[in-house]
């Protein structure tokens, strides 16, 4: 069931990605729907599931963006692992906790990408700091809104829906 939810979430993220690409081509520089999905999923504290979610979501994002294939998969897996690891030891719940985790993950994600691009392509990302700030703000706000809507829709703590004791 939770993988079905992840698949639906991934399709929605890809839909949003396509829509933004079609109507607002620069919007994805300031907003990342995939990381919202991955972090939401990783907050269940299941490290293995988080790694798989990060890899799959990252591959889809790479396939439909101009980045080196595997770049987002790598960065999202790092973020997913970190969030899942923390949540496997501490139980973080609520919209604010999700927003804080998401904000930290967006920053980490961008930093990983920045480093990898530097290593693999020896290029520097223009206006990295400004882009990072805007992307963090918009992604966190949108992510918290989605989380709040999920709380209303699921009528329980959304993260609980991603948890499963047995893999």
């Amino acid at each position: 069931m939770r993988w079905l939810r992840f698949a639906v979430g991934l399709l929605l993220a890809l839909t949003l990605h396509t829509l933004l690409d079609s109507f607002y081509p620069n919007a994805l520089a300031f907003f990342d729907p995939y990381i919202i999905l991955v972090i939401y999923y990783s907050m269940g504290g299941n490290i293995l599931g988080a790694i798989i979610a990060g890899v799959i979501a990252g591959f889809v994002q790479d396939a439909y963006s101009g980045a080196i294939f595997g770049l987002h998969a790598f960065s999202l897996t790092v973020c997913a692992y970190a969030v899942a690891y923390v949540n496997s030891r501490l139980v973080l719940r609520g919209t604010v906790a999700f927003g804080a985790s998401l904000g930290g993950s967006v920053i980490a994600n961008e930093l990983v990408i920045y480093i990898l691009v530097n290593i693999l392509q020896r290029q520097k990302i223009e206006m990295f700091e400004q882009g990072l700030l805007v992307k963090t703000v918009f992604t966190v706000l949108f992510g918290m809104l989605v989380y709040q809507l999920l709380t209303l829709f699921l009528r329980e703590e959304p993260i609980e829906a991603t948890k499963e004791r047995t893999w």
């Binding site: 079609s22 293995l48 595997g70 139980v91």
Partner: protein
């Protein structure tokens, strides 16, 4: 809140490192293939193919929605344009009707003027304000009266022929007795043979001609004109056309005349200010 230690997976970190290493290799291959011209690896193409229905569907929906929106806008524009054109057509139709009416009026008035110019007597124009051709007494009311020089016994005509005579005047109106009224008598003659007679209204829409001898040459289609012998109507005004001429029971024929004027469509008329016979002449008896 701490989570019990037995729930935590044992070797996730090792898996994590392996996955990252594999991803780094994928990235390196992808990065290299870009430099040699191949922009997509097989794996990348597979992922794209696998998820391609999503962007295709989104694009199709977006394109359809965009087409519908623009179609709707076009339709709104067309509807507005259509409405504007309809209003224009209505305005032009009204204008056309007015022009046709004006043309008709002009033709009719030209006819009247031509007729008036032919007459040597003084004339004036008047407009019909009431017309009663269906009642027992056939009459009409004109919008001019004694202030405009209209007097009792003035002849009323239009371009088609004789209409009647003035029987009553006020300062601004005049009442006209139509020739179709049974109490109206007009001294007439048949244009072809110059045979004289008296035309009276039959009380309906027609006329009858009296005092024409049975032996007189009268044929259907003969035109009847005023004879100018009754002291009211000038000579030569068309009164009607004979439609039927039968031998009567006595010495005179029974002649039916169709009026020259269509009384149902009378609008403007000409008032002929006829020369009146002085009362003393009328009263004189040898």
């Amino acid at each position: 809140m701490a989570v019990p230690a037995d729930v935590i997976p044992r070797r996730p970190t090792l898996l994590f490192i392996v996955v990252l290493s594999l991803l780094f290799i994928v990235m390196s291959v992808s990065s290299k293939t870009r430099y040699v011209g191949e922009t997509r690896t097989l794996f990348e193409r597979t992922v794209m193919t696998l998820f391609s229905p999503v962007p295709k569907t989104v694009n199709w929906v977006g394109q359809t929605a965009s087409d519908m929106y623009h179609g709707y806008l076009d339709m709104r524009r067309e509807v507005a344009e259509n409405l504007q054109l309809r209003r224009k057509v209505a305005a032009l139709t009204t204008e056309n009707l007015k022009l046709r009416q004006t043309e008709s009026d002009l033709r009719r008035l030209r006819g009247l003027l031509g007729y008036a110019e032919q007459s040597t007597l003084e004339t004036s124009m008047a407009q019909t304000v009431m017309l009663d051709t269906a009642g027992r007494f056939k009459s009409m009311i004109l919008d001019r009266g004694s202030d405009d020089g209209i007097e009792v016994n003035d002849a009323i005509v239009n371009a088609s022929g004789l209409i009647g005579r003035v029987v009553l005047t006020t300062r601004d109106m005049a009442k006209v007795q139509l020739i179709t009224d049974t109490n109206c008598a007009v001294g007439t003659l048949i244009e072809r043979t110059r045979r004289q007679g008296v035309v009276r209204g039959d009380g309906a829409q027609g006329l009858q001609m009296f005092d024409v001898p049975s032996l007189a040459d009268v044929l259907p289609g003969d035109v009847v004109l005023t004879a100018g012998i009754d002291g009211i109507y000038p000579k030569g005004i068309p009164v009607g056309t004979i439609t039927r001429a039968d031998r009567g029971a006595d010495l005179f024929k029974r002649i039916t005349v169709r009026p020259a004027v269509d009384f149902g469509s009378v609008e403007e008329v000409i008032v002929i200010h006829t020369r009146k016979i002085p009362p003393q002449v009328l009263r004189y008896a040898p």
